[in-house]
Each structure stands twice: as C-alpha cells, then as structure tokens.
C-alpha cells in the first residue's frame, strides 16, 4: 500500500529557477503546481522509479531526460494515475492524488500527450479537440438527445473553442479530416491541442518532437514557449532531442535506472559528470 506522504517539504527542489527566468510570479513562496515526494513504483520487484522528487513552479517549462528505459514515461504514468505508486505521493496544487483515478487527476488539471500517439483515430480532428473540451463545455445526455436550446448553444461554443485551439498550430483547415489519416507530425501537434483543450495547469509532453525534422522541431520549440506564455501553465516534457530540451527548458531533471541523477539548468546539466557518464555509457552499449 502507498506510504503516507511525509509532512516536511521536499528538500530537493528545482525552484528557485535559473536566472534567465522571465516570469516573475514563479517563486518559492507560491504553492508549486506539482510536487512529488519520494515517488516510486515496483514492477515484480524491479524498482522502475525510485525516490523521485521534483517540484515544478506555476509557469515553468521543465525537461525530463535520460537514456532509454530510464523510467521517464513511467513517471508520466505515475503523475497521471495510469499507475498507482507503491511509495510516495504526487501533489497537484498541494492536493494529494492518492487513490485518484486517471479521470480525477485530469480534472485537477493534468493533461498529457503520449509517446506512441493515442488519438481517437476514427473521429475528426475537431471532434478530438471537442473530447478535450468534454469537461469544459458541458450539457447532459438528454439535452443532446432532445436537442434542447442548450445543446445548440453549447455545441456552438465547443466548435468555436476547438477552432481557436486548433489555430495555435494553424490546423483549422484540417478540422474535418479523420485524425487517423493525418501525417505523423500533425498527429503529434493535435495531441498537444487536445491536451490543452482540457484547460490544464500542468501539461506533460511525452517526446513531442519524435519523428519531426529539425525545422518542425524548431517551430515546436517556439510553440511550447508560446503556449506557456499564452495559457500561463507549467509544462514538463520528455525529449531525446537535446537541442529542444536545452533550448526551451528552464529546469532539467535527469533520470537513469529509475533514479534522479541530476537536476539543474541546461548549463549545469551539460557539465554534470554523472550525466555525461550515463549518456556516454549508453553510447558504449549501442
């Protein structure tokens, strides 16, 4: 069973954040948008994630990096309650996620994208975004079946909001396409739009640049910063493309064999011997 979270504040923090921070409200006195305390999970005796401590400020862009199989996606699955942790706790805006379902976690303001894209393939692009708006613009089943006035009003609002969100990546023209038929890069962008539609406080991006060319990656980088500024949310991303991570992330956390081996700014991470060893070691194997 899950161990009760300890009362004291985690000593390992990524906040205060590096000097190139431009957002003044990010500050140690605020309740962080997300905090994990001694988070860990075991699969059949193997500690996939162990003693994972991370704090993210309200409008911070943070990166989670590490070699393949380090447990990065497992961390995402723990944060979004796909897995129930065996030890430790996740706090969103100070609220413990213990015992919550994926849906409840989502309602608290966590949204994510998936490493292996999980769109609603048979539905249109616009409908995919509408699913993201599911809890934002609501009406009940009977209103829908009976086509009451509220149905038309809320449908219109959903459509307009969906189009606004699609505009972030200039995807309005694709609104009526089937999501499964989109090219790879567009599918990744649609996943981000869909996640944003849930009005999250924390956005988790799992390898958003995978399969993109350098030009697309650069565009994505700008968009990530733009999203943060526009929506005033925190973003945590997993990425293998170091130019993106180093370029956009204000704080970086490095994971290896389920354990945090380093935390800090891009410059600090690049100079960290443990990180270099983890990556060089990986090179030797490959």
């Amino acid at each position: 069973m899950t161990q009760k979270p300890k009362k004291h504040r985690s000593d390992t923090k990524m906040v205060p954040v590096p000097s190139h921070s431009i957002i003044p409200e990010r500050d140690v006195d605020e309740i962080p948008v997300m905090e994990t305390r001694h988070l860990g999970i075991e699969f059949g005796g193997l500690k996939a994630v162990d003693d994972f401590n991370l704090t993210i400020g309200k409008t911070e862009i943070a990166g989670l990096i590490g070699p393949n199989g380090a447990g990065k996606t497992t961390v995402f699955n723990l944060l979004t309650k796909v897995y129930e942790p065996t030890t430790g706790a996740v706090l969103i805006n100070g609220q413990d996620l213990h015992g919550m379902s994926i849906v409840q976690a989502s309602r608290l303001g966590i949204a994510r994208t998936f490493q292996n894209i999980r769109l609603f393939d048979k539905m249109t692009v616009e409908e995919n975004v509408r699913i993201g708006l599911h809890n934002q613009i609501r009406y009940d089943m009977f209103t829908g079946i009976l086509r009451l006035p509220r149905y038309w009003k809320q449908e219109k609002r959903q459509h307009e909001r969906a189009m606004e969100l699609l505009d972030i990546f200039g995807m309005q023209d694709l609104a009526d396409e089937t999501a499964g038929s989109l090219p790879y890069g567009a599918q990744r962008r649609l996943e981000i739009v869909r996640a944003l539609a849930t009005d999250p406080k924390l956005l988790l991006l799992d390898e958003p640049a995978a399969g993109m060319n350098p030009h697309e990656t650069e565009e994505l980088m700008e968009n990530i910063a733009k999203i943060r500024d526009q929506f005033q949310i925190a973003i945590l991303l997993i990425e293998h493309d170091m130019s993106l991570v180093m370029g956009v992330c204000e704080g970086i956390c490095v994971l290896n064999f389920g354990k945090v081996i380093a935390k800090g700014t891009a410059d600090e991470i690049q100079a960290n011997p443990a990180v270099i060893e983890a990556y060089l070691g990986k090179k030797k194997e490959g």
């Binding site: 979004t80 796909v82 379902s101 994926i102 849906v103 989502s106 309602r107 949204a111 994510r112 998936f114 999980r118 769109l119 609603f120 393939d121 048979k122 539905m123 249109t124 616009e126 409908e127 509408r130 699913i131 993201g132 599911h134 809890n135 613009i137 609501r138 009406y139 009940d140 089943m141 209103t143 829908g144 079946i145 009976l146 086509r147 149905y151 809320q154 449908e155 959903q158 609104a175 009526d176 869909r194 996640a195 539609a197 849930t198």
Partner: protein, 361 residues
C-alpha cells in the same frame, strides 16, 4: 456549416427519409391489399429486428464492446410486455389495445434498462474478450431463469413463483408458465407502433452519437487510456451506451412478444444474439442505415427464398468471417479501397444532386 456536419446531416436525412418512405409505401400496399400475407406477418418482426440491430450497433459500433447477450434484454422485454398486457387486461379490464401496447412497451424498456444497469455494473469493468463472454453468460443466465419462472394473475394481483409452480395460489390465470413461456398472449402489436418505435430509436441513437455524450462514447472506443486522460469517465459512457441499447432492446422485445400468442425462452438463445450481430456486422459497424437495411433484408430473405432459409446460418457464418477479414486485414482493405475509389468519386460528383432529396438509397 462545415463539411463534416453537412455529411452527417445528409446521412441522417437519408436514414429517416428511407424509413418514412418505406412506411408510406407499405401502408398504401396494405390498404390496397397488394401485400402478401407472409410479408404482412413479417412487418412487426422486421421493426423489432431493426430496433435490435440499431441498438446493438450503438454498443458494438460506437462504444466498441462486443455484447453477446442482446437477445437476453429482448426476452426481458417480451416477457414483461406479455405480463403487463395480460395483467392490465385482467386486473383493470383495459380494453384499448393501443394503450396496453404502449404501456407494455414502456414497461419492457424500463425493466430491460434496470437489468442493463445491474448487468452493466459488473460487466463494464471488464474489457474486450472477457466482456463479450460475460455478456454471453448473462444472456444464458437470463434464459435459464425465465425457464423456471411462473407468473399468474388472480383478482387483479400478480403472483410470482420461482422453480416451483405449486407455490402459486390455486386458480390463477397463468401468464408465464416456465419452459412453456409466456402463454395466451393477445397479439396487439401493430406495424404503425413498430414504425414509431423505429423513429424513436433513430432519434435517440443518431442524436446521441452526434452529441457530447456520444463523442465521449466513441472516444472510449478509439482509445480508452487517452479518453480517460482527457477526463472522460470510460465506465460512465460505456454504461450509457449499454443501458440505452438495453432499453431499446427491451422495447423491441415487448413489440415482438405481443405480436404472437406465445413467447418461449428458446426464442432468445445465444443464436438470436448472433443473428442480430450478423445484421450489425453486415450493415457496417457504426453504420445505422446499414443496420436497418441488413436487418430488413435478412429477415425477409428466408421468407421469400426457401432455399436460403436452409442455408441461412451457414451463409451468416461466412458473412461474419469474410466481412471481418475484408475490413480488417491491411492487404484486403487496400484492395477494397482501390475497388471502391471509382465509385466514391462518382458519388462525390453526384453529391450536389442527391443532397436535395431525402429518399435516395
């Protein structure tokens, strides 16, 4: 209006138009006595099977779960309908057949819906093959239970007995007599009520799938984890589809049961659930219009073509296998798409003309 919306509107108009036009033609044929006795006898069952197919399509095509116990809900509706109608007649001397029919159909739908909730709570926690096999199990359990159910009426009261007929007070008029089924039913179902019920089914299903709840149902089909991550409660929406389908199947059952003088448990076996599954698969998963056409066609065909009746189940089996392989194997799907693309182009070209009329096939 967006392209996708327009496409949907045309689809819905064609679906409703086809049903209404078919009804008007058939009504005229009936009043002109230009319809064969056997076809006339099939009209109410066809209505019932259309409702069964459309409602099962909601579960399989839209929520993506294979329910193999749909006939169980139909039997609940049929029995409830027979009991309620018999009871209303004996206890309240309600002579108006239309009123009795409507009340019986409502009761059938409600009871099937209650069972839908009770069965759905455990079933919908499961996934995929397990869910399918458990719905099958529930269908069989329902059949087993009604097989030993005895209901009689005396002095305006309903009396129930289970396993043991002797427990009923002496002198009751039997309404449900164990393995003999629901007996001495006064057939009161009419084609007109069947038609109205089809329209209600279409309104419920088509409006539901094009609404917030319906999109949530489809999202749980396409990707369960992603739907949950978007804050969509998968169990709630699977339940919504399952229970709605159960209510509709219960109403179809009452309509079907009150069309003949007896209803027996062997009418609602697993085979019957498979029949409806064939309608849905042949009509296309998620294609309501397809379900209507295939249910109609496959109900009439064995009546007009005796040879087909003998090989019906064999043909159904082959249909299931071939449709699944052709729509799901990457190689054959590409092949079918290539064959279909000229036809699609043609349709696209003609869309301007077809958009106006509702009665286009």
């Amino acid at each position: 209006m967006t392209k996708a919306k327009r496409k949907r509107l045309i689809y819905n108009l064609v679906t409703f138009g086809l049903v209404i036009v078919a009804f008007i033609i058939l009504e005229n044929m009936i009043s002109a006595k230009a319809i064969s006795r056997s076809l006339k006898g099939q009209l109410v069952p066809i209505c019932a099977w259309i409702i069964m197919a459309v409602s099962l399509n909601l579960v399989i095509g839209f929520s993506g779960e294979l329910s193999l116990g749909h006939a169980g809900f139909m039997s609940i509706g049929a029995y409830t309908g027979a009991v309620v109608s018999g009871w209303l007649l004996s206890a309240f001397d309600m002579q108006d057949p239309l009123l009795r029919l409507v009340l019986a159909i409502l009761a059938g739908g409600i009871l099937a819906g209650i069972f839908g909730v009770l069965i759905g709570i455990p079933v919908l926690r499961l996934r995929g093959d397990y869910l399918a096999i458990v719905t099958l199990a529930f269908g069989e359990i329902i059949r087993n239970l009604v097989n030993v159910l005895y209901i009689g009426t005396a002095n305006g009261k309903l009396h129930f007995a289970f396993l043991n007929k002797e427990k009923l007070p002496a002198g009751v008029t039997m309404l449900v007599d164990g393995a003999k089924g629901a007996v001495k039913i006064k057939p009161i179902s009419t084609f007109e009520v069947g038609f109205v019920l089809i329209l209600i089914t279409l309104i419920v299903v088509l409006n539901l799938v094009n609404s917030r709840a319906g999109r949530a149902i489809q999202a749980t089909r396409d990707n369960r984890i992603a739907a949950e991550s978007m804050g969509v409660s998968v169990t709630k929406y699977k339940m919504m589809a399952f229970v709605t389908a159960a209510v509709l199947a219960g109403m179809a059952g009452a309509l079907y049961g009150l069309n003949s003088s007896t209803v027996v448990p062997t009418q609602f076996t697993f085979n019957q659930s498979i029949n409806v599954l064939v309608f849905v698969v042949l009509g296309g998963l998620g294609n309501v219009l397809g379900s209507i056409i295939s249910a109609t066609f496959l109900t009439i065909l064995p009546e007009v073509l005796r040879e087909f009746a003998d090989y019906r189940m064999l043909v159904y089996a082959v249909v299931l296998i071939l449709v699944m392989i052709f729509t799901n194997n990457p190689t054959t799907r590409a092949f079918v798409n290539r064959l279909a693309s000229p036809a699609k182009k043609l349709v696209r070209k003609n869309r301007g003309e077809t958009a106006g009329g509702g009665d286009v096939k």
